[in-house]
Every structure is written in C-alpha cells, then in structure tokens.
C-alpha cells in the first residue's frame, strides 16, 4: 500500500527576486506591497519562498513586487525551468527520506518551511504546504527521472 | 641477501623455511649522508635503489616517519599504464612502464606486474574520438595503443553491460595491452630490499621535524632521532609534500586530498583487464585473490585524515555497477583512503626548489603508483647529475609561475574543479 501520492502540477509563472546593495529599503517597500515581510531564510509566506540569503522565489503574480522593487534588485522569470510536484498523504515525509540526506521527518520542518536539498542527485526545493502535503520545485529536465525514482521508492518505504 | 628463487623455496620446504634473512636491516641513523631522502614510500625507496644501483651513490638514508610503504604505495588501486594524452606525461609514464616490465627481475622480488591490459571504455562516438586522439598521441611516440570495437570489447570483457538501455552504453574502447596491475606492497618492499642490500640505510619510525639551513642551503634534517646532516635533501613525501616543504619555508602548488579505494570479497576470475572509462570516474580491476578493486574520485576537499567520505565511495560503486551490473551481489570488504598531493595542473612536480640542495618529488595526484620506478630512476638521475633529467624537465616546480602547466584535462589550477 502506498501512503503517498505523487502528482505533477506542471509549470507555473515563477520569478526569482534578488535584492542587491543594502536590501532594507527595497524589502520595506515590498513588504508594504505584499502586506507582509519578505520571508526569512528557510521560510515561505503567501506566494513567496525564500531560497537563499539574497533570493526569493515568487510564484504567480509578481507585478506588485515589481512595482515596489525600484532599483533595489531585480525580478527574473524562471517558471519555465521548474516542474512542480506535490507529494501528499501521510507518508510524504517518509518518501523524502529516500535518496536524501535531509531531515524531512523533523518536526521543525513544519508548514511554510522551505529547504533546498539534493534528492537522488537532483537539487530540489521543498515547501511544506500542510501536514499532509509538500510541494517540490524540481528542475524541469530532471522531473521525469525524479518522479520515476519517487514512484519506485514509494513502494518500499519502511513501516513507521 | 638470500637470492629469491623457486629452488630456494623448495629448499625451505626441507628446513622449515628457516634460511631466509631479513629483507632489510634496521640501522641506527648515521650523523651524515650524501643524500637524505624524506619519505620511505615507493618513490623514496625507488630513488634510493636507483641512486645506489645506477649511480653508485650508496651513502644514502631513507627517513620514514612510520613504516616503509605505509603511505600511498600501499593505498592505491595498483594500476600501471602510460596512456596519457599530453606528450610530457606519456613520455614519462612510458619510461616508467618499461622499467615495470623488468622490475621483478631487477629487484629479484616478484612485484607481480601483470600486463593484462588497461582498457578505457568509450560510451559515445565523441568518447571514441577522444580515445583515438589519445591513442594516436601515444602511438606517434611508439607507445602501444589499440582501438577496440564494441564486439571486441564484448569478447574481452563479457561482464560489462552491453545492453542498449545501459546508462553508459559501450561503443568501443582503447586498450593499452602493456598496462595492467602490480602488487603494491611488493613494490615498496622490493625496492627497500634492493636499496638496503646496496648499502642504503632505511630508517623507520623516524620523523623529520625540521630542515637544517645554512643561508639558502639545506644542510641536513632534524628528526625525532636527532640531527642528520646531508649533502642533498630529497623530499619524496607525496600526500604530505606541503607539510615537509613548509619546513624549508616553501609553499607548493599542491593541496592534499583524500582518495579512496575499495575491494570486494574475492570471487573466481570475472574482470580480465583494468577497466577505466572516458566519461566516468571509476576504475575497476580484479586482484589475484579475486577481490574486485574499485577506485573513484577524490573527496574534493583538503584532508589529511586518510579516511574517505562514504558518499564518494557510493558514487564510485554506482558507476561501477552501471558498467558491471553483476557486481551488485558482491560485497564490499574493505575501503581505505590515501592522502594525495593534488597538484595545480594534475601533473607531478619533480626537480629543484628555490632552496639550494633541496629537491622535490611530489604532486602525484592519482598517478603516483604507476610512476614509482620511473620517478625513482629519473629522480635519482637528476640528483646524481645535479640537474633534472630531460624527461622530468616539464615537471619543474617553477612551471606554474612561468606559465607552462602540463594540464592533461585542461581544467586549470584548482584540483577540485577537475
């Protein structure tokens, strides 16, 4: 029996937001436009995921950020490069332990946490959507291979 | 020195093998030597042997901090070959390979040099062209290289995965028939016995702790067993070259990294040649005891730990299984690691240093074992004549500041970018 569902959601409009120089002023303007602060490292809020110290992934509409950005940084479209794959069901955490070195079973990896980590040799960005689901942003060229790996692995998860 | 022979063994059958003498002495260090060699590994011992044998220079000490042959000469995958693309490298390694061919007799110690063929697989037409290029570069110099078709490889090495779904399909190969493997420990021991019998002092458990300088000239070494004066000091401490050179105030174009190897439990003959590939980072051969010996990439971070990282090893196994799927049910028996001098163009460093009287032999990267006799011979020649032998001239230490790297892979100065 498989306790995890692997579902390819397809591509979506994505932008990489990168702030340069002293990022505080731009961040403040963007926070105002978004209605919340830009998420901290390792977190997501709304449609914005923090990827690295200087970059955020914006899913969907980015016009508000663009308007607020000014010369504090840049938005770059990247959506063509990722497949989004949702892992859902009680065993999604268990599945993420396969071929990985990241602790997806940690209680600290909770809703709206974001992490990028290699799984089966592919760097994948994970966002915890709920206790029942996690969204993976997979480099599009690797998506077919990685899902094949996940489907096979899902059939051999250990009993918890 | 008791001569080794089948007859002598047979004699031993009737005297309980009681007639064998120690393979080398355990002398106290003398206060002074003409040449002090730092490092009792393959290269240091070979250098001492050829100094004594070819040049009659026998007032030589080999100083070893642990036991002889305890470093990389005993921690490698024992591959011997001269299939390099760049002329200075193939020329040097070919010189060495020729010495390998007569080494057991030269040493009266069977180093089990087994020329069963160094096979480099090609996984695409592009690979095959690169292999042809390498083969042509060798053949132009008179070094043996032969291109094999897929069918020929299938006959030679049926254990490989010839299926079309293979992730690394086999399109053909280049083989150097004269390449192969040797028994690594025997190389160190054979050179040690040969050097010792000609008067060289092999001093184990003696660590060099400093250089004795007179201006810009080195005149001896400080050791854990006291000062030893020397006319010439030769560093043969690959893996730790930087550490030793620092005692003379030198910084080298070398970083020490861990390189792992592993061996499976023994099985009956399965892998006939030394299998390498043009696209992957793994090399496989079978030892006389039946174990499948594997090597892969270095750990790509500086380390003196002689302890490799598990993930690096797993990657090498993954690649090995991609080539030979039937290895899956064998078990890894042991893995080990050596500390290698990763030089900044991937080629060795042999020659003089900015310090008078101090010579260096290091920077061997992956290539130290097969170089052992050639390196020893040519380094000894250089020491004896006071100038680098022509074959090792391209490997001078100053080539980096001059702008003449010998960069086999064209990957530039950073070993971990290779």
């Amino acid at each position: 029996m498989t306790d995890v569902t692997i579902e390819q959601l397809g591509r979506a409009p994505l932008h990489m937001l990168e702030l340069w120089g002293d990022p505080k002023a731009a961040a403040k303007r963007i926070a105002k436009a978004l209605g919340h602060d830009l998420p901290k490292v390792g977190k997501a809020q709304g449609n914005v995921l923090r990827l690295s110290p200087t970059t955020w992934l914006v899913e969907g509409e980015a016009a508000a950020i663009e308007a607020a950005l000014g010369d504090g940084g840049a938005l770059t479209p990247t959506g063509g490069g990722y497949e989004r794959v949702r892992l859902s069901g009680p065993a999604w955490r268990s599945l993420l332990m396969e071929g990985s070195l990241f602790d997806a079973e940690s209680a600290q990896f909770a809703i709206d946490c974001v992490a990028t980590t290699p799984i089966d040799h592919v760097a994948v960005t994970l966002r915890v959507e709920s206790e029942n689901a996690c969204l993976a942003y997979v480099p599009a060229s690797h998506a077919a291979d990685l899902q094949h790996f996940w489907r096979l692995s899902a059939g051999g998860l250990p009993q918890s | 020195m008791t001569k080794y022979s089948a007859l002598s063994l047979l004699r031993g059958a009737f005297n309980g093998q009681s007639h064998w003498q120690p393979a080398w002495r355990d002398p106290e260090p003398k206060p002074s030597y003409d040449v002090v060699i730092i490092g009792g590994g393959g290269h240091g011992l070979a250098t001492a042997f050829y100094l004594a044998k070819v040049h009659g220079i026998t007032n030589v000490a080999v100083i070893e901090k642990g036991y002889i042959g305890g470093g990389n000469v005993g921690r490698n995958t024992t591959i011997v070959r001269s299939n390099y693309r760049l002329e200075p490298l193939s020329r040097f390694y070919e010189f060495s390979l020729k010495l390998w061919e007569g080494l057991s007799d030269d040493l009266n110690y069977n180093v089990m040099f087994s020329p069963r063929g160094a096979l480099t697989l090609g996984h695409s037409d592009a690979d095959m062209i690169r292999l042809a290029e390498k083969g042509d570069a060798m053949a132009v110099q008179g070094i043996d290289a032969e291109l094999l078709t897929r069918d020929q490889v299938m006959k030679l090495e049926p254990c490989l995965d010839f299926s079309r779904q293979a992730r690394f399909p086999i399109e053909g190969a280049m083989i150097q028939w004269r390449g192969g493997t040797a028994r690594h420990d025997a190389v160190a021991w054979g050179f040690a016995r040969g050097a010792d019998s000609r008067g060289v002092d092999i001093i184990q458990k003696c660590e060099v702790t400093g250089m004795v300088m007179d201006g810009n000239r080195v005149v001896g070494v400080e050791t854990t067993r006291g000062r030893i004066n020397a006319g010439t000091v030769a560093i043969c401490a690959a893996g730790h070259s930087g550490h030793v050179a620092a005692m003379a105030g030198l910084k080298l174009p070398v970083e020490s990294q861990t390189l792992q190897a592993m061996v499976t439990e023994g099985v009956k003959p399965m892998v006939n040649t030394v299998v390498m590939t043009q696209s992957l980072h793994c090399y496989i051969s079978q030892s006389d005891k039946g174990g499948i010996v594997f090597g892969g990439d270095p750990d790509n971070w500086p380390s003196y730990a002689q302890r490799g990282q598990p993930v690096t090893m797993e990657l090498a196994v993954q690649q090995g299984l991609a080539l030979i799927p039937a290895l899956s049910r064998l078990r890894m028996l042991r893995c080990w690691a050596g500390v290698t001098d990763m030089s900044f163009d991937g080629s060795p460093i042999i020659g003089t240093t900015p310090v008078d009287g101090l010579w260096i032999n290091g920077g061997w990267c992956y290539g130290g074992f097969k170089a052992t006799p050639g390196s020893g011979y040519l380094f000894a020649h250089s020491l004896a004549h006071g100038r680098p032998h022509e074959i090792v001239e391209p490997f001078s230490l100053d080539r980096f500041e001059r702008g003449s790297p010998v960069d086999e892979n064209g990957t530039g100065p950073f070993p971990n970018h290779r």
């Binding site: 702030l19 340069w20 120089g21 002293d22 990022p23 505080k24 961040a27 830009l38 901290k40 490292v41 390792g42 990827l51 690295s52 110290p53 200087t54 970059t55 070195l101 990241f102 992490a115 990028t116 980590t117 290699p118 760097a123 | 730790h240 070259s241 930087g242 550490h243 620092a246 910084k251 080298l252 174009p253 070398v254 970083e255 020490s256 790509n300 971070w301 500086p302 380390s303 003196y304 730990a305 990282q309 598990p310 993930v311 900044f344 980096f400 500041e401 100065p413 950073f414 971990n416």
Partner: protein, 87 residues
Amino acid sequence: MKLIPCPHCGNRAQAEFVYERTADSVVPLDAAPEVAVAALFTRANLRGVEEEIWRHTYGCGSWMLIRRDRVSHAIEWVKPIGPKVLP
C-alpha cells in the same frame, strides 16, 4: 561525512556543500601579476587549521568561510560571505 553549519540553513550534510579553495587563494580583482600568481599557485596546505571557502551548492547556494582542521576535520567557525542580506 561532516555536518556543516550553513550560516543560513543550519546543519546540513557535507554532501550538499562544495569546497572551493582556501581563503588566501582568492585572487583580488586587478591584482598585480606576481600577487595573482602567488595566490593561484602556492598553498600553505597545512596539516592543521586553515580557512577555506565553501558553498552550499546543492542547498541555498550561498558561500561561506570555514575555519577547519584538516586532520580531525573539526570546524572552528563558519562565516557567511557575499553581499549584505536580510535576516
């Protein structure tokens, strides 16, 4: 395989990181030829503690300076490298 404390992501497996070079081998922009050559081609390569540049390549992608013992592998400290960042 070490745990490396990424200044941003916290402890992660060493396999997520890539060693780049020692801190003293960064060639400054517009360096004089001898400075550049020395930085590129000579290393202390100590059997001891050195400062090294690493990158969390397969994680957040950020760069860091790690002071580390090359014999025991023990990490003394890790510092972020790069432009100013928000928390």
